[in-house]
């Protein structure tokens, strides 16, 4: 029963992934469609980050005591300044854990 579910889920997810890669699918992307899809990277990746950064513990947290928020801001500043994705990521993660530890250590 569980394996039926696993294979069915696998099939569904694969169809989602593969559907538009099939060349026999009669679909030509217009110039407008391509322009729209050009926003897929900033649009989708931002949507994935939003809840992680602003809704820790499923509560809206806009205070500076939200390490996710400060850490992300630091990542933005670092990547715009250094143009180095990996470095910015590692430094902001380092900051995040130190800051979070410091916040949790407060009485």
């Amino acid at each position: 029963m569980v394996f039926v579910l696993i294979f069915a889920m696998g099939l569904l997810v694969f169809l989602n992934r593969y559907a538009f890669l099939e060349p026999r699918l009669p679909l030509r992307l217009s110039s407008n469609a391509r322009q729209f899809l050009g926003f897929a990277v900033p649009g989708m990746l931002t949507a994935i980050c939003g809840p992680i950064v602003f809704l820790p513990e499923h509560q809206l947290d806009l205070s500076p005591a939200n390490p996710y928020l400060l850490g992300s801001l630091l990542a933005v500043v670092l990547v715009l300044w250094t143009r180095n994705t990996l470095l910015s990521m590692l430094l902001s993660m380092g900051f995040f854990f130190v800051y979070r530890g410091w916040l949790n250590g407060l009485p």
Binding site: V2, F3, V4, L5, I6, F7, A8, M9, G10, L12, V13, N16, R17, Y18, A19, F20, L21, E22, P23, L27, L29, N32, R34, Q35, F36, L37, F39, A40, V41, P42, G43, M44, L45, T46, A47, I48, C49, G50, P51, I52, V53, L55, H58, L60, Y68, G71, S72, A75, V76, V79, L80, R83, T85, L86, S88, M89, S92, F96, F97, R100
Partner: protein
């Protein structure tokens, strides 16, 4: 392509994917330990990661199984939770649909949020299938190894979801997005996607992320059209 070039591209792809592969560690561990906790066998837990290979859908499906949900409702939820892949497929169609069948099937199976984040920036000329395979396969291996670790360690990992490891995903994506925000339409796109994703997630919509992403994309597109018309 000569084998050495293919190998170099594959290794470059693998290296590019290392940060995101590590970032996904908490979710992979969680997917493994939750499966055991929900009374799935180790083989079933690993099977989910090996066959379904979609973090959010796996975690929710395990939760629903535990809660006694029926097959149909779990599958419907899976469909909704993974619908952003349709968008990724559409977006990468110009590049990927031209590949031979076995490459399309392989890269299609390996398509994830992370794969899209790293590979979609390349157009037809710059795209390298071995680089893409390096990214996708490394991520697949990492996801399955972390799941295995989660299965083995089981509930010995205390408060995994409270360690704040999910920040690594946000940090990586933020570092990937920020440099692409160079003009007003992209700013509008990011702002709308951000606002909607927070709002829809707060409302616990199953399609929160893809709906927010689509609205952000639409806002950016409209803004670009208006700017072009002037």
């Amino acid at each position: 392509m000569p084998a050495s070039l293919a190998r170099t591209a594959y290794i470059q792809g693998s290296i590019a994917c290392i940060p995101l592969s590590l970032a996904v560690a908490p979710w992979g561990l969680l997917a493994g330990s939750m499966a055991i906790e929900a009374n799935l066998t180790p083989l079933q837990g690993q099977g989910l990661s090996a066959i379904v290979f979609a973090g959010a859908a796996q975690l929710v499906a395990i939760g629903m199984l535990k809660g006694g949900a029926n097959l149909f409702s779990i599958l419907l939820t899976t469909l909704l939770l993974t619908s952003q892949h349709l968008l990724y497929g559409l977006s990468m169609r110009p590049v990927l649909s031209e590949l031979p069948t076995r490459w399309r099937l392989t890269l299609g199976f390996l398509m994830t949020d992370e794969f899209f984040a790293l590979v979609s920036q390349y157009d037809r000329e710059q795209f390298n299938r071995w680089y893409a395979f390096g990214v996708g396969f490394t991520f697949y291996l990492a996801w399955n190894l972390f799941t295995l670790a989660g299965i083995v360690l089981g509930q010995n990992i205390p408060h995994l979801d409270k360690l704040g490891l999910d920040f690594s995903i946000a940090a990586t994506f933020v570092a990937l997005i920020a440099p692409t925000v160079r003009n007003l339409p992209t700013v509008v796109c990011v702002a709308v996607a951000l606002f909607c994703s927070v709002l829809f997630s707060y409302w616990k919509w199953e399609t929160a992320l893809v709906a927010a992403g689509l609205l952000g994309m639409a806002a950016g597109f409209i803004c670009q059209k208006c700017a072009g018309a002037r």
